[in-house]
């Protein structure tokens, strides 16, 4: 039996992303959303999954899925691979620049 990871790009709709096993703990993948937006999907060491917008607001590049996952004070974050700003994976808030936030998408395993 395989588990599939799904995310919700808009209220009440779920999109199947990939098998959970495709996700390397501590890394991300990008998913293409039906309206052309992109999501960055992550799994951490303890198996929790997260999805935020893939677009790095500081450079405009669709790259957050390729950043490194870490934790600070117990909260998971991803550091942008371009200029290294960190984003909280649960809230989308930028930890290095108040006032910058990226969208967060609900995720579930099926």
């Amino acid at each position: 039996m395989t588990t599939t990871l799904e995310l919700s790009p808009s209220p009440d709709s779920w999109l199947s992303v990939c098998e959970e096993a495709r996700l390397t703990p501590g890394r991300g993948v990008a998913a293409l959303l039906p309206d052309g937006r992109q999501a960055a999907v992550f799994r951490d060491r303890s198996g929790r999954t997260y999805a935020i917008d893939n677009r790095d607001p500081f450079t405009g590049a669709q790259v957050l899925s390729r950043g490194l996952v870490g934790s600070s004070d117990g909260r998971p974050f991803v550091a942008s691979p371009l200029l290294k700003q960190r984003f909280d994976l649960e809230t989308g808030r930028c930890l290095d620049d108040d006032g910058v936030t990226v969208a967060v998408y609900p995720v579930r395993l099926k």
Partner: protein, 848 residues
């Protein structure tokens, strides 16, 4: 009222200190100050004299702050010694013929080195060790010498021996006493010192006197020793003690001691109240001549205070002879009653002849610490010296046992009383240090730590909590400490390291963007010895790598990647050039020659990387590691094969080295170059390791850097054969990888390395730490285990699965990666990137 004149004879360490003390007291404003200085330069730090051989310039050693003399209107006559004093007329006559009338005369003429009256002592090749001029002469003569002998195994003799050995001479020390440093250390300490010094390759002859210097045509060729043997040597340095320079005082009828020294009272006045004597030339009121700088400084203060009419203070009644030195890299300290002269005193001794550590404390019957000797490990000196004269708060054995043995010593400088003198050079108490908040501030406000420097460690411990040197929020260890932990405990995963050695609050967590790649790199460097696969993208390793390593390519500003195949030495066949051109054309990539003699192909989407590399690998290319903290390129010049000036085949060597070190993961990137002659067309001296051909082989330079803070590389070794060169680079690189911090290029690492280039030479050339075999073995394992990362990636469909733009649409290209034309090639379409940009500016973003 006329302005009084103060004449100072001798501008040495104590003389300068005296001038500063006068200035502090405002005396310079109301008196004319004349200084007669015999040496060709103003006062310099004689204590640090030997550091001239480790690269300090005479200017670095100067003790006179810029503008000091002008500010206080001090007249300094350099190179013009005093020749006579007329005490009746109160005048001093200098060699130049100048005559100065004085109201107060201060003699600070120091000492001269004692040269035993043996035949041949004045031959060419005989030297003393006291002034910068002496060192310049020694350095010059040593160029043509291969063997050197030092007469005298005391403090200065060993320092001179270290210098000769550092100049590459086969060095002998001849000491009359039965042990080294007889004045400072006891028999056990001397034995520990002897073993360590012999291990460094010096030959020591104790219990032997010098009878004659053997000469041929007026130049030294050897020495006859009192045991009848003859020691062949090209030069001799006499360091058999010093004698006070009291001739001037004798000639004008001042009282001098029976065994020399200008007799002074507690206020440093000589037998003539208008004349003072301070420093090494003075015979203090306790009947001793002090050959150390700290007591001299105290005399300078006392004399200045007296002249300023401050009768307060205790005057100078004597000082303790405590010393801490680093002799040839060995810590040696003695303090208080080191020889246990007091009646009924007891010893507590710890000795470990394997490590050359010897520690002795002298304790009185009622438990008062009287003094001690520390050899090999003098860490505790800063603590013990101020405790002298009191009953230590913990038992004496706890004070001498090494950390880790027995009960831990809970005693730190915090246990010291407020009036404990922490810096004996400048007589600064713990209380005074407590008024400052940083080391620079302490040095500026109290001068503590600016003399011999032995108190600096203790001062640091007294200051508010030192800055956290930990790697990041997850680890309190530095990179090099983590390297050692992983190596010795054989920890093979990031999770194991974080959960066992992370900060409490970070254990079980994810780590962060700083420690993950750092540990990833450490594990990659150690892979062959830990028995793990060095391929960096499998298993947990995959999650540690920076984005660039993760895709084995460099991410560009629009999320596309650049591709840099390795072109060893910059040499490439036309066929391969054509392949690169074809690949670039077929995938529509922007092409540029890099600053590293290779070719960069820009604008590849992540899903194109495997097909691009399939073409390149098929044509014989390998990863160029432009993405990794690893060996980048080894540039070459065309060299002897074609160039009319070349003396070696620089291209062959560059290729050989690049193939050897390719794939080597390091704390930061590594760059190198090989030039075929001294014209240096490959710019080797700006590289982490650079090689320049000579008629006899290769010169190896290390620690060079271009970039933001350029640094010229330092010469590590000369005229090496091919094999010697490779072996030395192996050692150098592995030592760097082992000890450098995260993102520390070899240049900054070398600047930070304690002992600098000399220490590096000791370790990698002289094998002073006995590490070289291990370093070479590590490199051999790396070379044997190297495999091309791109070839291995292409071989494995599982590994290739990551190279997609979208996990849920594997075939789809990323629509946000688009290009527009420029100068017949492409460039990123920046309008896509700026679309919907938040108001936060890019400039605010820092890369970490």
């Amino acid at each position: 009222m006329t302005t009084p004149t103060i004449v100072l004879v001798g501008h040495g360490m104590v003389g300068q200190r005296f001038l500063e003390a006068l200035a502090d007291r405002g005396v310079t404003e109301r008196a004319r100050i004349v200084v007669l200085c015999e040496e060709p330069r103003p006062a310099y730090d004689r204590v640090q004299l030997t550091s001239y051989f480790s690269g300090k310039t005479p200017e670095d050693l100067s003790m006179v702050e810029a503008g000091f003399l002008e500010k206080h209107s001090i007249e300094l006559y350099v190179g013009d010694p005093a020749e006579s004093v007329d005490r009746e007329a109160r005048t001093v006559t200098a060699r130049s013929g100048r005559v100065f009338a004085y109201d107060t005369l201060v003699l600070a003429t120091g000492s001269y080195p004692f040269v035993p009256p043996v035949p041949g002592k004045d031959a060419r090749g005989c030297f003393v060790y006291r002034t910068i001029e002496d060192l310049l002469a020694i350095e010059e003569y040593a160029r043509t010498a291969t063997t050197g002998a030092v007469v005298g195994g005391g403090l200065l003799g060993l320092e001179a021996a270290g210098a000769l050995s550092g100049l590459g001479l086969d060095t002998h020390v001849v000491e009359f006493a039965p042990r080294l440093m007889p004045v400072q250390v006891d028999e056990g300490g001397g034995a520990a010192l002897l073993r360590t010094i012999e291990r460094m390759g010096l030959t020591v002859h104790t219990g032997t006197g010098t009878q004659e210097v053997v000469t041929t045509d007026g130049a030294v060729t050897g020495m006859k020793l009192s045991d009848g043997s003859e020691l062949p040597t090209d030069m001799v340095v006499f360091s058999a003690g010093v004698r006070p320079r009291d001739q001037l005082a004798r000639d004008c009828g001042l009282t001098v001691g029976e065994r020399g020294g200008i007799a002074v009272d507690e206020r440093c006045r000589t037998s003539d109240p208008a004349v003072f004597a301070i420093g090494e030339c003075a015979l203090a009121s306790d009947g001793r001549v002090y050959g150390l700088v700290a007591p001299g400084y105290e005399m300078a203060q006392t004399a200045a205070a007296t002249i300023a009419d401050e009768e307060g203070g205790d005057g100078f009644t004597g000082a303790d002879m405590s010393t801490k030195l680093k002799l040839l890299g060995v810590d040696v300290a003695s303090f208080g009653d080191a020889h246990g002269a007091a009646e009924g005193c007891l010893d507590v001794v710890y000795a470990d002849s394997r490590s050359g550590v010897y520690k002795k404390l002298v304790i009185s019957g009622d438990g008062v610490l009287l003094g001690g000797v520390l050899v090999g490990d003098a860490e505790q000196y800063g603590l013990l010296r101020p405790l002298t004269g009191s009953v230590p708060p913990v038992s004496p054995e706890q004070l001498v046992l090494p950390a880790g043995a027995g009960a831990p010593v809970a005693l730190g400088p915090s246990a010291l009383p407020d009036d404990a003198v922490i810096c004996s050079c400048h007589n600064v108490t713990k209380h005074a240090i407590g008024q400052c908040s940083s080391l620079p501030e302490v040095k500026k406000c109290t001068k503590a730590g600016t003399g011999c420097g032995s108190c600096v460690k203790t001062i640091e411990k007294l200051l508010p909590a030192a800055v956290d040197k930990g790697l990041c929020g997850c680890f309190s260890y530095t990179r090099s400490e983590l390297y050692e932990i992983a190596r010795t405990l054989r920890l093979t995963s990031f999770a194991a390291l974080l959960d066992s050695h992370g900060r409490e609050e970070a254990r079980g967590g994810e780590g962060c963007e700083v420690c993950k790649p750092t540990v990833g790199s450490i594990l990659a460097s150690l892979a062959p010895v830990l028995g793990i696969d060095g391929y960096i993208l499998d298993g947990e390793q995959a999650a540690l790598q920076d984005t660039n390593d993760h895709f084995l390519a460099n991410m560009q500003r629009n999320g596309s990647y650049s591709v840099v195949p390795r072109i060893p030495g910059g040499e490439i066949t036309p066929e391969k050039l054509i392949v690169i051109g074809e690949v670039a054309r077929d995938f529509g990539l922007y092409t540029k020659i890099t600053g590293g003699q290779r070719i960069d192909l820009f604008g590849a989407r992540v899903d194109q990387l495997p097909s691009i590399w399939t073409r390149l690998v098929d044509a014989g290319f390998e990863s160029g590691h432009a993405y990794g903290k690893a060996l980048r390129t080894i540039k070459s010049c065309v060299g002897q094969t074609w160039c009319r000036y070349g003396v070696q085949d620089s291209v062959r060597m560059a290729i050989q080295l690049e193939l050897r070190y390719r794939g080597l993961r390091a704390p930061h990137k590594l760059k190198s170059a090989v030039s075929g002659c001294a014209r240096e067309c490959a710019e080797a001296q700006s590289k982490d390791f650079g090689i320049i051909a000579t008629a006899n082989g290769w010169n190896l330079y290390v620690g060079g850097n271009g970039g933001a803070t350029p640094r010229h590389a330092d010469l590590l070794a000369q005229d090496l054969s091919d094999a010697e060169l490779v072996r030395l680079i192996d050692r150098f690189l592995m030592f760097y990888i082992r000890t450098a911090d995260r993102l520390e290029r070899t240049s900054t690492w070398l600047e930070r390395l304690e002992g600098g280039l000399d220490h590096l030479k000791d370790v990698v050339v002289g094998d002073s730490l006995g590490l070289c075999d291990e370093l070479e073995a590590l490199m051999a394992a790396h070379v044997a285990g190297y495999q091309d990362e791109w070839a291995r990636t292409l071989d494995d469909p599982e590994r290739l699965r990551r190279f997609v733009s979208f996990v849920n649409a594997p075939g789809a290209p990323d629509p946000s990666v688009r290009f527009v034309p420029e100068r017949d090639q492409i460039k990123p379409d920046l309008t896509i990137l700026t679309l919907g940009r938040t108001n936060s500016t890019l400039e605010g973003a820092t890369s970490r």
